[in-house]
Subunit: 222 residues, 2 copies
């Protein structure tokens, strides 16, 4: 419970990979640009992310923006990478907690994910990604890589809770869990019509997941 809030404050919205050369000011402007682009994406959607708007929102001239990001594709790719990386760091941090029972830890992970779904950033950012991933293979692969890393700790805990299950079976269950939770973005995400029902959806989710894992027999899945 404490860890949830700890992560919330530690993990930044953007994680930028270190650049090769360049001055300090250059790196600041670089980050400023990505932050402005993210705000634009969250507040007004992908349609609003144009080179000129990003330039204006970040207080940078258009010509200077194209110096850091020669093409819009560069800008978008770096932005998605930076944002997705922040989630990956969040999930990787979960793996290194070994204090309680497997069931309790799995519950914590689900709570963490579902609480995050209620966030403005997550509610707005991911549907945009899902739409983009339908026509952009880079986005598709990058987002699936994120989900794969999110499932990783789940798979381990599922196997620990029900050791009779094979690795493939655990993977399928984790996939099912991840998909189930992501779907709630549209209904109970930030400012969505059922946002107030999220606490009960969390209880339903956890109860249903735990019941599924413990009652699952190797014959139910290949």
């Amino acid at each position: 419970m404490k860890n949830r809030f700890k992560n919330k404050f530690i993990v930044p919205d953007l994680v930028l990979q270190e650049r090769e050369g360049g001055y300090d000011k250059g790196r600041d402007v670089y980050e400023q640009i990505l932050r402005a682009a993210l705000d634009l994406l969250i507040d007004q959607g992908y349609r609003a992310v144009s080179m000129r708007r990003v330039a204006a929102a970040s207080g940078v001239k258009l010509g200077n923006l194209t110096y850091y990001f020669p093409t819009k594709e560069d800008l978008v790719r770096e932005l998605l990478n930076a944002v997705i990386s922040s989630y990956e760091i969040e999930f990787d941090a979960i793996v290194h907690e070994e204090d309680t029972t497997a069931i309790h830890r799995l519950e914590e992970i689900c709570v963490l994910i579902l609480e995050d779904i209620g966030t403005k950033k997550t509610t707005r950012f991911f549907p945009e990604l899902w739409a983009l991933s339908n026509h952009d293979d880079f986005v598709l692969e990058r987002i699936q890589e994120l989900y794969a890393r999110a499932r990783h700790p789940m798979v381990r805990l599922i196997s620990e809770i029900n050791p009779a299950l094979s690795a493939d079976q655990c993977e399928t269950i984790a996939l099912f869990m991840s998909a189930s939770m992501e779907g709630m973005t549209i209904f109970a995400g930030f400012e969505k019509p059922f946002a107030d029902k999220m606490p009960w959806l969390e209880r339903l989710t956890i109860k249903s997941f735990i019941d599924l894992i413990v009652s699952m027999t190797p014959e139910d899945l290949p």
Copy 2:
């Protein structure tokens, strides 16, 4: 099982509301335009839906397109309405089947939804809607109206399976089920990385849903 395929062939992609006046040819062109716009949306995403592209794809001159749809907003609204209506008709058809047990009918509904998620049209169209709904209240209300009608038959069956549950509890469970299934679009939808795992996700889904409904006690939810 037979009904699933029956619906697949009967329900058209577009359901247009009847117009007031106009010649026959006008109605044909009207439908042609919406169909071209839908194809564009599905194959290339919302960014590709411009007035000129729709005009070209439907073999209509730009000036004529603005005769039928004076503004792009008109075109998009009519398109979404026409597509969403087709899904509503599909779900309403389910309500009028009273041949087997409640559990079996609920299973059939879930199979129908999950099979539909594997469709190219659904996999491509809905993420686009979800993204749009974040910044367009019309889209948000229209899509939530669709989901409400999709939950309707579920709520009745849930209540029939477990009569101890209150109406609100049944609503929450149906919401949970709908969200869970929608989430699988991103993972196991058309040409998605886990599309081949959909059959097992269906089995997991159904088992988990039925177990949840029958094992749920009124104390688990308010």
